[in-house]
């Protein structure tokens, strides 16, 4: 499948031109992207630290995961929306960017992992899941989200 025609179409769209030519638009969108990064980081870490055995102890894993979930989904939505706008402003650069490819792969895997394996484990009765598996789930989750963040930062340094 050749994505290049789509990439070129995005680049020639009025929205793309507006964001890339505006003095402020990119910076403002990116700032919102960064603020949502902080929130998504907190909502992921508060659960993953618990999975690793370093988190809140007074309450069940399920309770913490359930309370963190709306903040995760909310900030994820903001990340995707602002991220799409950032992509829209420079699709051709990103199409050829290796860090961006890493970031998108980690994002896809991280999102699927969060909504399937990690969700199942966090909502299960804690005693039923071996502590080793809990830790493994947390490490996979942290590694994937780190890949998203680090890949995103590295996009800006290359090219």
């Amino acid at each position: 499948m050749d994505l290049l025609p789509f990439i070129d179409w995005v680049a020639s769209s009025p929205l793309s031109k507006w964001i890339s030519q505006s003095r402020w638009a990119f910076a403002v969108i990116e700032s919102i992207h960064l603020l949502a990064l902080s929130v998504i980081g907190g909502s992921v870490l508060i659960v993953d630290l618990r999975l690793l055995g370093f988190g809140i102890r007074t309450h069940t894993l399920e309770e913490i995961a359930r309370q963190a979930q709306p903040w995760f989904l909310g900030s994820w939505t903001v990340m995707i929306t602002t991220g799409l706008l950032l992509f829209w402003s420079e699709p051709q650069k990103l199409y050829y960017s290796a860090p961006f490819a890493v970031k998108m792969s980690c994002l896809l895997l991280g999102t699927i992992f969060a909504l399937t394996v990690r969700r199942k484990v966090t909502l299960a009765d804690e005693g039923q899941v071996n502590a080793i598996w809990l830790k493994l789930v947390a490490l996979v989750s942290l590694a994937l989200w780190f890949g998203v963040g680090a890949g995103g930062r590295w996009v800006g340094f290359s090219g």
């Binding site: 003095r23 910076a27 990116e30 700032s31 960064l34 603020l35 990064l37 902080s38 929130v39 998504i40 980081g41 907190g42 909502s43 992921v44 870490l45 508060i46 630290l49 370093f54 988190g55 809140i56 102890r57 007074t58 309450h59 309770e63 913490i64 309370q67 963190a68 709306p70 903040w71 989200w145 780190f146 963040g149 680090a150 930062r153 590295w154 340094f157």
Partner: protein, 190 residues
């Protein structure tokens, strides 16, 4: 008092030049600075949201502080060290950046807010530790913290943009005053 001579001296030290001109060290330090936002600020946001009664409403405040506090402190230490290194790499331009100056002011205010919180309502935390919606003073502290940290993050990001840099003249008078610009700008320096 102007710190400009100090920043100019700092900019000419070998370490500053090396970090500024490095191919990988500077991006690595900056990446660490940004990604540690998740650890320090992410957990601080969860704590502030708990103070506002928006999340983890059944978990005692003291439990979140006890268990997450060390992680926040570790994250904050990384933020401070990497932030200092970033300033060290680009001292003059940072010093004369209205964004950097705004960030420092907001950081001081955030520190004051945290100090006031710990010195007042947090002393009586035993009385409201389990409240799903903490008392007004605690909620105000949480909201103030969220606003100030948002300002810190955004102004920090904006340092990268050169819209108001001193070497881009003419600037509005107010910008030159706020940024401490020397007009016309002397040659060199970063």
């Amino acid at each position: 008092m102007s710190l400009l001579p100090f920043c100019q001296w700092l900019a000419d030290t070998p370490g500053s030049i090396a970090l500024h001109e490095s191919l990988f060290m500077y991006p690595l330090v900056e990446s660490a600075h940004v990604l540690t936002l998740c650890l320090f600020l992410g957990l601080a946001i969860m704590f502030d949201l708990r103070l506002l009664g928006f999340t983890l409403t059944r978990v005692p405040i003291t439990e979140i502080k006890r268990r997450m506090g060390p992680w926040m402190l570790a994250g904050f230490a990384v933020m401070v060290v990497t932030g200092a290194l970033l300033f060290y790499a680009i001292p003059v331009r940072s010093y004369q950046s209205i964004w950097f100056r705004g960030k420092v002011v907001a950081l001081i205010l955030a520190g004051l807010n945290a100090f006031v919180f710990h010195a007042t309502i947090d002393r009586k935390v035993a009385d409201w530790d389990l409240d799903p919606k903490p008392p007004r003073a605690a909620r105000v502290a949480g909201a103030t913290s969220l606003i100030l940290w948002a300002i810190i993050v955004v102004s920090g990001r904006m340092i990268a943009y050169n819209w108001f840099d001193c070497d881009k003249q003419p600037q509005p008078h107010i910008v030159n005053i706020a940024a401490g610009c020397v007009v016309p700008p002397p040659a060199g320096g970063r």
